[in-house]
């Protein structure tokens, strides 16, 4: 398992590195596109600029539309008003025309003369604000000219104020408003414009307009309105000829368009803002301006045309409006867009900054990570260096120590010897320190490899205890170990490291404890029992509890009676543990079956002492290397402070964790958990022999009474005796024991008579008289019939005087000095009981010389697909006298191994084509189990022959690693040998079952 552990460690390191690499590679989006960041920013700015422009354009367009609407409405309004006013004037002129026709022609004589007309028109001038003046011209035919001239007393003149040439018709002005009196007697038909107007007016009967021209007098642009006046009433639907015939004259007025429009515009709001032009567009190719300047600048981009209808269908007019000034720059739009752009720019920049920052932070992070990895690597390197150096120091140190030892063997003077001894002690101290440092460094460098071998935990604990027994005895400390029954006998793990942990902890405890006790306790961490059961059991055992409490009442219920730091370790919980186990033992078959199922067991180990404790302030750095409680500690007690940190590391390597509870001046309890593998049943029988210390089995079934007032201590004693297979009862004091014993005696062995009574020294001393009487009682009652039970005194330390006293009292056949250890107890008991028959010795057959005798005459099957290997293996085995047969494949082997067969063992190659060694073994085992079942069925009632088919199968493998070994065991192999054969290795493998076999046979 060692290499495997190491492997996994390295694996974990690589995984770690990989993870780091992984995070390194796992760039965020920002990090991955870091090169694009400025481009992103640029793109952002561009997009935002575009957006701002768009916003500006849109707002500007809105403005323009509004502006246009305003212009349209203003223009239309003006046009409408102009039109209205115009039509009002036209109506009035119409009315005037009717007036003239009514009063001038229908009345005879005429009711109107120039004077009347002038006055009337003057008084009604306000009705015609647009007309500069009106005049009436009579139609005069050439034939009537003379008569007309005579009648009026003036000659008809042309516009140029010359006597009119001869024409067909004349239209001299006869009435005129005073404002235009200068046109009286002028022939209106002499002007081209007027003539056309007159002709058109009398033909249509409606008001007609001239094209604009400069008016006489004012020189404003204007138009002349002409209305026909008819002499007689017109027939309905008159023809043009009718109209011309009926025409009596023409009423005309000049519209001063310029001032008209000027006035009009003056009345309206927004006059300044817009520019108005009025055109006569009768001739569509040549627009004649009626108002406004042709070449006025203004906003040429925007204009609005409104149609004007002045009531003359022949003439068309329009009004064109435009703004005076160009559209003002839209500041709102501009500002809005600009602000938007600025904000977006800022946002973009903030995002960019954030991204840059993230990139930087991530870069830093990665850098730090790399640094961390490097730092860790450096740390590991340091530890490796330390490990190497320590190792290098150790080698010469061993030389020095060895030489010193040799030196001490020589003839030395006392001074020289003293020096040499001092040097040796120092050297030993140094090498211990170096070993510790080496351990620590190894752990840190990940070089420490844990073994996985089966070992007996209890014997290791005993060993550790024996290490400290001298010291503890000198200090008068109770040192004890208790292992719960549920803890498997053999566990898989690293015994050396486990021993180291325990040694460290117990060593510490011994060092720091001056009085009281040190108790090492091991139990299974997961207690499968539900709490209710446990409580019920406490009640069940209530009676004996009471006794226990009374006898030890004044003190704490701990091993020595001193207070312990961790209350959980006191008798309450301890009893609970013991009793539950006692009950569970009945159902142990079931339990173990269940336990076997899980491959590992978690053990809880606690080391409790009643020492000086750890100061509260120092408690959190107890496990830090080279840290002691305080500097005075090392002065008083010595030590480097490295032990606990190593212990912690080891515990963690074993898959557990360590903690402690400590109260200054009360004591400390260190508890740790470890995970051990369970031993396979198959391998247990093999490994136990070689690994565990053999406890003599000669005490099996003996009955013992332990007399002890302290239940914890009694439980410890009982534990050790139980390991020897003894039946143990506990009595709280001598009297109870005596009475129990007496009862037994009198009832003549209805119960088994105790063979041994073990009495704790304290209990004996407290009731010395009582025990004396006990002894006497015994003598009387049982002297004849039974062998006396052996009395044994248990003591931590005993003075000679006390010992003498005890002997004198005849109480103790012998004294067992604590700390108790199963083997020591066994030795003492053996001495006492004189059952010292030769125990099954461990006289190992040594060396390969016996290999021949082991293998001689055995039939062995070698299975290997490789011819050469097969031959070599066969040769090697033959050399030791075995009869060898070969098979070249798993299938062939199966054929040969059909039951019943005569083979004693099989060597199986693992890697073979078709059927590998594992598979072949599995099948062989299957065959065997079938055969065994069948046989059991046959012979069950009979002899109960135990000899089952089980062919020892050994794997032959080139790569000897534990994983393969495990695999071998899993598929039912019994062991493995390395390939090619090495004698020693072969011997060890073969010896396991060839040695045990004859014993079981005999």
């Amino acid at each position: 398992m060692g290499p495997k552990l190491k492997q996994s460690y390295h694996h974990s390191v690589t995984v770690k590195v990989n993870e780091q690499m992984g995070t390194k590679r796992g760039y965020t989006f920002i990090q991955a596109n870091r090169a694009w960041l400025p481009k992103f920013l640029l793109l952002w700015v561009m997009v935002m600029a575009f957006l701002s422009t768009w916003i500006y354009k849109k707002m500007d367009a809105d403005n323009k539309v509004r502006r246009k609407e305003v212009l349209t409405s203003m223009c239309d309004q003006r046009a409408r008003m102009l039109q209205d006013q115009f039509s009002v004037s036209v109506n009035h002129v119409h009315a005037l025309a009717i007036l003239v026709s009514t009063f001038h022609y229908y009345k005879d004589p005429s009711a109107i003369d120039q004077e009347t007309f002038a006055e009337y028109t003057a008084r009604t001038a306000f009705e015609r604000p647009l007309l500069s003046g009106v005049a009436y011209a009579e139609r005069v035919k050439h034939s009537e000219r003379e008569k007309f001239e005579r009648q009026h007393g003036w000659t008809i003149k042309t516009m140029k104020r010359e006597p009119s040439p001869i024409r067909d018709e004349y239209a001299p002005v006869i009435f005129s408003q005073e404002t235009v009196s200068y046109i009286e007697s002028l022939d209106m038909m002499s002007g081209e414009e007027d003539r056309e107007n007159i002709l058109r007016a009398r033909a249509t009967g409606k008001a007609v307009l001239t094209s604009p021209f400069r008016l006489l007098g004012s020189h404003h642009l204007g138009v002349v309105l002409t209305f026909p006046v008819y002499k007689s009433k017109l027939p309905p639907k008159p023809t043009v000829e009718d109209r011309i015939e009926a025409t009596a004259g023409y009423l005309g007025g000049a519209f001063d368009v310029e001032s008209l429009v000027e006035n009009l515009l003056g009345q309206l709001a927004g006059n300044q803002a817009i520019l108005v032009n009025v055109y006569d567009i009768t001739n569509s190719s040549d627009h004649l301006i009626m108002y406004g300047h042709q070449n006025q600048d203004g906003d040429l981009a925007l204009l609005h045309e409104s149609k004007l209808d002045f009531g003359d269908p022949f003439r068309k007019h329009q009004m064109i409006c435009r703004y005076h000034q160009k559209a003002p720059t839209s500041w709102t739009a501009l500002t809005t867009a600009f602000l938007f752009f600025v904000i977006c720019l800022l946002v973009g920049y903030i995002l960019y900054g954030a991204a840059i920052h993230i990139v930087k932070v991530e870069d830093d992070f990665h850098e730090m990570q790399e640094l961390m990895v490097r730092a860790e690597a450096a740390d590991v390197a340091k530890s490796q260096f330390l490990a190497t150096v320590s190792h290098e120091i150790r080698t010469p140190m061993n030389g020095i120590l060895g030489m010193l030892a040799l030196l001490l063997d020589t003839d030395l003077s006392s001074t020289q010897r003293d020096y040499a001894q001092t040097a040796q002690v120092c050297g030993k101290a140094l090498i211990t320190l170096i070993n510790e440092v080496l351990d620590r460094a190894k752990i840190e460098a990940g070089k420490l490899e844990l073994e996985t071998v089966p070992f007996d935990l209890r014997s290791i604990l005993d060993d550790v205890l024996s290490l400290f027994s001298e010291k503890s005895r000198n200090k008068g400390l109770e040192l004890a170990v208790f292992v719960s029954d549920k803890v498997p006998e053999m566990v898989m793990g690293d015994p050396g490291r486990f021993r180291q942990i325990i040694t460290n902890l117990v060593g510490n405890s011994v060092k720091f404890t001056e009085r009281g006790h040190i108790l090492v306790k091991v139990h299974v961490a997961e207690n499968p029992k539900p709490k209710d059961d446990a409580k019920a059991e406490i009640r069940l055992n209530g009676v004996s509890d009471a006794g226990a409490l009374i006898s030890g009442g004044c003190q704490y219920n701990t091993l020595s009676g001193y207070e312990a730091a961790d209350e959980r370790n006191s008798w309450d919980s301890f009893r609970h543990l013991v009793t539950t186990e006692a009950l569970q033992n009945d159902a142990s078959e079931k339990m173990t079956a269940a336990d076997e199922a899980s491959r590992s067991v978690t053990l809880m180990v606690s080391v409790e002492d009643t020492g000086i404790g750890i100061p509260l302030i120092a408690q959190d750095r107890v496990f830090t290397p080279f840290m002691q409680a305080d500097s005075s500690t090392s002065r008083n007690y010595g030590g480097t402070g490295i032990g606990l940190s190593i212990t912690k590391c080891l515990v963690e390597l074993m898959g557990g964790h360590i903690s402690f509870i400590s109260r200054p001046q009360v004591g400390s309890t260190f508890s740790f958990t470890t995970v051990f593998g369970r031993c396979k049943k198959a391998s247990r029988s093999d490994t136990k022999k070689s690994n565990a210390e053999d406890l003599p089995s000669g005490f099996r079934g003996l009955k013992a009474i332990v007399v002890d007032g302290k239940p914890v201590r009694a439980a410890v004693t009982r534990y050790h005796l139980k390991r020897l297979g003894m039946l143990v009862e506990v009595a709280n004091n001598v009297k109870i024991a005596a009475s129990a014993y007496g009862k037994n005696g009198s009832s003549c062995g209805s119960k088994i008579q105790p063979d041994i009574v073990l009495v704790e020294k304290d209990s004996w001393l407290s009731v010395e008289d009582g025990c004396l009487s006990l002894r006497m009682l015994d003598r009387k009652q049982n002297g004849r019939m039974f062998t006396l039970p052996k009395m044994i005194l248990l003591a931590t330390n005993i003075t000679n005087a006390e010992l003498e006293k005890a002997k004198a009292a005849g109480f103790a056949d012998t004294t067992i000095m604590k700390p108790l250890r199963a083997s020591m107890v066994a030795a003492c008991l053996q001495q006492v009981l004189e059952t010292g028959k030769s125990l099954p010795g461990k006289g190992m057959l040594n060396g390969p010389s016996v290999l021949g005798s082991l293998l001689c005459g055995k039939r062995i099957l070698v299975v290997d697909d490789n011819m050469v290997n097969r031959r070599v293996a066969a040769g090697a085995l033959k050399k030791f006298g075995a009869a060898v047969e070969c098979a070249e494949s798993g299938k062939a082997a199966l054929k040969l191994l059909q039951l019943p067969h005569g083979f004693d063992a099989c060597f199986m190659d693992i890697q073979m084509p078709e059927m590998d060694g594992f598979e072949a073994t599995r099948r062989i085992r299957m065959l065997e189990s079938q055969a065994n079942e069948q046989m059991n069925g046959d012979t069950d009632k009979g002899s109960g022959r135990k000899d089952k088919w089980h062919l020892p199968i050994l794997a032959m493998t080139a790569d000897v690693i534990h994983a393969t070994y495990d695999e071998c065991l899993k598929c039912g192999m019994d062991g493995y040998v390395s390939k090619p054969f090495e004698e020693e290795n072969l011997y060890q493998a073969v010896a396991k079952f060839f040695k045990t076999k004859p014993i079981s046979d005999s």
């Binding site: 290997n869 050399k879 090495e982």
Partner: protein, 147 residues
Amino acid sequence: MAIAALKTQRRNLVQSMFDEGVLDNQFNQLQDLQDSSNPNFVEEVISLFCNDAERIITELNRYLNDQNVEFSKLDSYVHQLKGSSSSIGAYRLKLACVNLRQASEERNMEECAGAFNSIRREYYVVRSKLQVLIQLERHIVNLENQQ
């Protein structure tokens, strides 16, 4: 005296093979296994080994020249050769086998070819030397029988 000279020669040959790393300690063990009850053991094993190795090398050559190398087959053959060579103690051949296995695990054709060449080379070296050794053995046996 001839026998003694031949034995010295044999010892020197074996020693030189050890020194060159062609053989390792396993060969010693192999020699130990040969005794009166099994007088031709070493020779027998060597010839077995040679036949086996030649067969495997032929196979390896075939597989390596394939378009699509069947690495699993290749691997199992190399494993066999490695087993044989470690049984006989042909140390350098074994190393070459290990190299080829590694290369085949990495699916590295170039290294495979290189390792295969070194296998062939090592095999010829070990075969020629072992054959010399066998000749010596036979001489010795013959001379001993004559006496």
